[in-house]
Structures are given as C-alpha cells and as structure tokens.
Amino acid sequence: MKILVCVSKTPDTTSKIAFTNGNTKFDEAGVQWIINPYDEWYALVRAIELKEKDPSIVIHLVTVGLADCDPIIRKALALGGDEAIRINTDNSDSYYIAAQIAEVAKKGGYDLILTGKETIDYNGSSIAGMVAELVDAPYVSLATLFELNGTTASITREIEGGEEVAEVSLPVVVSCQKGMAEQRIPNMRGIMAARTKPLQVAEPAAIDALTSILSFELPPAKAGVKLVSPDNVAELVRLLHEEAKAI
C-alpha cells in the first residue's frame, strides 16, 4: 500500500501580508515558512497514523516548488514521510501544479493520494480535484474522517449543512480538513532520520500554465470601531438597525 501526500510551503499564519515589485510579488522579508497546516495536521498526520497501524504502508511526499521548500519537506519527513519528491518550479497555476503531481502519481501507482483542503496563501482548493481528474480516480473533498478497511476506505466529508459518509474502493484522492487527525510535533529521532531520507528533485514536465497572477491588492482599511457604552446597549441596537442596516 502506497500513499502520496501533497505538501506545500506557506507563510506562517502570523505573517505580515505585504507585496513588493509594484504589488506583483508577496513580500517574503521576515516571513517564516511552514508546511501548509491542512497538508500537515490532517493529510500527513492521518497517513502517518495509518502507517503506524500497518507498517507495510509507504508514504511518499510530493511538493511543487523551488529549493526553498526543502526545509518544510525535511520537516514532513521528520514527522513520518518515507521519501519525498520535489518538482523544481515556482509556477503558481493550479492546473500546472496538479498536472506535475499527476505525473508523479501515475508513475508511482499510489493507492491513496491525500492533500489539505486548501493552502492558506492562495486558498485555491483546486489541486486535489484536478489530480483526481488527471489520474481518473474518484475524489472525496473536505474529508473529516478516514478509515481504511483493506482495499476500501470509509470516508466522512463535509457537505452543505451536514456530512456524508461513503465507501469507496482504492485508489482515491482525498482532500483533508479538521477532524482527520491532530497536529503533531516531530521528535528528535524523526528529525535525525529525516536527514538521510531520500529527497528527489525532478524537473517539471512540459505543461501549459492556464492562469497567471497579474497583481495583488490589500483591502481598504476599516474606518475604525465605534464604541458604545455597556450601559447603553440600546444604542448599539439602534446603530445596527439604522446605520449598518444589519438587523
């Protein structure tokens, strides 16, 4: 049984969001990079839990990015991945990225492909669905629980106003979110072991990018809070009703 976990490098959640080069580039000055939390806490940790139950499981990691992704890949290996592949490109088009991952997926013959539900920088939530299409596998989005029973999986996913439980034969592509697993901290042994685990760097396949980022913008600043005295709650209700027209 082989699992492919897709991981992506994102700025730490507390990073200051600013842009440079005439608002065309994210300002990386002083930014700490982390594994996208959905990829790490939910997709990767769930894969590791499955491997803990069945040590014959092999976990491969794939990331699409330049050499500055290596630290987060080493961290993912320290948490428990067995091997990693990095596709060496900084293209940001989701189809381009998904097609690179699909190439890796087709060659590797994986039973299960896991991703986070979205990255916290581009918020695309596109990669998993695209990879599923490109490898022609079923896709379960926004999964909150995942159990393996031999060659089938029982998966709970979020739907509008509730959840759906389904059974599906492997191979399957799953995008993961809260509920799947809990965040872990890598231990010393994992960190030492990660140093010698294979990290293969591959050049990207020839794929057409279908989108490109032209520019970024910051939202206009809020006008500032209007404070109301706790002894005059009626005034807040009046403002919400008459001024904001929100109630």
């Binding site: 998904a98 695309g124 596109s126 299409e133 079923p138 989005s141 106003g161 439980v165 989108t211 919400l240």
Partner: protein, 321 residues
C-alpha cells in the same frame, strides 16, 4: 460563446447560493455581450423556468437521479459535456462545498484555467482577469486566465443577488451518466441550526465564555436573530462546541452580513476566517483586545452582563417593527 452557470440543488431545491451566482453569471454575460444559461443536475421539484428572473435565458437540465448526490467524478464529466454541448466559454460555480468538490475537477477535464474564490466580476476589457481573495481574506489577487474556456468559482456573499422579471426556457440535456464509484452509507444533516456558511448573521463565542455551560446567553441572542452559531478554535478543541462551528484560518471561513464576536480576542488566525463579514461587532471586557481593530462596532464590557441586555433590546426592536 455563452456563460454557463452551475445552479446547485439539494433535495430538489435550488440552493440560495445559486441565486447569487446566477445573478453574477448574468451580469458577466451582459458585460461580454453574450447570453447566460444555467445548468441543473439531477431531478428537482422547483420550477426551473423561474430561474429566468435572475437573468438566464435557458436552463439546461440533466434529469438523472444518480446526479442527486454529488460525486465529483460524475459531475465533472457531465458538466464538461454540457459546456461542449452548449458552446459555453465561461463556466461559473458558487464556491460552496459542492463548488469546491466539482469546479476544479471540471476545469482540469476541460483543460480550462480556473480562479476559485472570486469576489468580483472579471475585467474583460483586455483579456480576462478575475479578482480573488488570497491569504485567507487578508489580500486580493488579480489573476488572468489565458485558456479558451474559463472557469470561475464565486465566493459566497460577494455579489448582490438581483431578482427581476423573466422566465427561462427549460431544455433537457441528454448526457450519459456513469455509475458512481462512491457508495454513500449515511447522510447526517445538522437539523435545527442555520448552516454557518449560509447564515446572514453569525454569533460566535470564544474562551471568554469560560465553559460550555455558559453558552445559553449566546444561544438566546442567536435565536432572537435567527443567526448561525460559531466559535473560536480553542472552544472547538476543548469540545465546548462541535468542530463544525470552529471558524478561522484552520476552520470554516465565513462572510455573513453581521458577525458578532463574544469573548474572542481576535487573533490573526481567527480574523482570517471572518474578516470578509460586512459588519463586525465585538463584545470583550479587554479594551486592548485586537479584535476591536477589525470591528465596526464594539462594547468594552462583561459579556455576561451585556449580551442578555442586547438580546432584550433586539426583542424590543423586533416587537416594534
């Protein structure tokens, strides 16, 4: 070269989010000088001709019962065939759970560029550029799509639903539907609650409520406002409230008209899930709480004293209007 809008249904009814995206698609078609058409999958009880009032000329329906459940694999194939059959050059989804499951997969099948989380009409004056939220609502990106077919998934509550006059022509679309490889064994709908992502008003509680036994004050206010209820991450982690109420960077992202935060400090990760709300009200006893910087209205005070008064005042308002 029409604009095809995916109008999502559940249990035979077109979803509220679909009206917003129909209005958006119709406005886009007008801007491009072309026609807007809708696509409905599965069997429905609603009158589909009535969707004409949101500006679509035609509603294509693939009335196959297999499609009453969303399987991204089947949906992508059927929607892609509908795009080809109708000759659409722009395909629009709502960025709901279903949109997230289906839009990107369909785009890959069509080899079409996609922008998800769009928040405004595209700029079509020179190419095709779509504005979307990035960094969990902390910024926007303008993304140009270069492929012949373009796919957009529109953020909830980011376009004004416009209902006018008009009836649409309903056309049956015959598309072969495969058997699903996914066997659904249970569907658990949350009953008696306003679904969080669809709620106009959301009342949310943080660690300031001190414990699950104190949620009554919040629930009373939410009930009076017909609001959805949410919570901060530590509250969800401590199981004071169910997981699905956790909003923020690592929880649900919402954009209601009104977000009322009770006893929440306003950490950057929390704000990332709620900063697209139109109006934010913060009640917190600490005047230095960072949430006040992101708020429109605020009360510095003890929520256990303020919130019951607020509920009473809203009752009075509702009684008088």
């Amino acid at each position: 070269m029409s604009v095809l809008i995916f109008a999502d249904q559940t249990e035979g009814h077109i979803k509220k989010a679909s009206f917003e995206v129909l209005s958006y698609g119709a406005a886009l078609a007008k801007q491009m000088g072309t026609s807007a058409e809708a696509l409905v999958l599965g069997t429905v009880t609603d009158d589909l001709a009535a969707l004409g009032k949101y500006g679509v000329a035609k509603v294509h329906q693939v009335a196959n019962e297999t499609l009453n459940h969303v399987d991204a694999q089947l949906y992508a194939k059927v929607i892609a065939e509908a795009v080809t059959a109708t000759g659409a050059t722009v395909l629009v989804f709502s960025h709901t759970q279903t949109g997230k499951a289906v839009s990107a997969r369909t785009a890959a099948r069509l080899k079409a560029g996609i922008v998800t989380g769009a928040c405004a009409l595209p700029d079509t004056s020179n190419g095709f550029t779509v504005k979307k939220t990035v960094f969990s609502g902390k910024a926007f990106a303008n993304i140009s799509i270069s492929s012949p077919i373009k796919v957009i998934s529109l953020n909830l509550n980011s376009f004004k639903t416009v209902a006018g006059e008009g009836t649409a022509e309903v056309v049956a679309l015959n598309v072969a539907v495969d058997a699903s490889k996914i066997k659904i064994t249970a569907i658990n709908k949350i009953v008696g609650e306003v679904p969080l992502t669809e709620a106009d008003i959301v009342v949310s509680g943080g660690r300031g409520l001190k414990g699950p036994e104190n949620w009554g004050v919040l629930l009373d206010l939410a009930k009076e406002l017909h609001a959805g209820t949410a919570c901060s991450r530590p509250v969800g982690d401590a199981h004071w409230r169910p997981h699905h109420e956790h909003v923020g960077q690592t929880g649900v992202q919402i954009a209601p008209n009104l977000y009322i935060a009770l006893g929440i400090s306003g950490a950057i990760q929390h704000l990332a899930g709620v900063n697209r709300s139109k109006v934010i009200v913060v009640i917190n006893k600490d005047p230095e709480a960072p949430f006040f910087k992101a708020a429109d209205y605020g009360i510095v005070g003890d929520l256990f004293e303020v919130v019951p008064k607020l509920t009473e005042e809203i009752k009075k308002l509702h009684a008088s209007t």
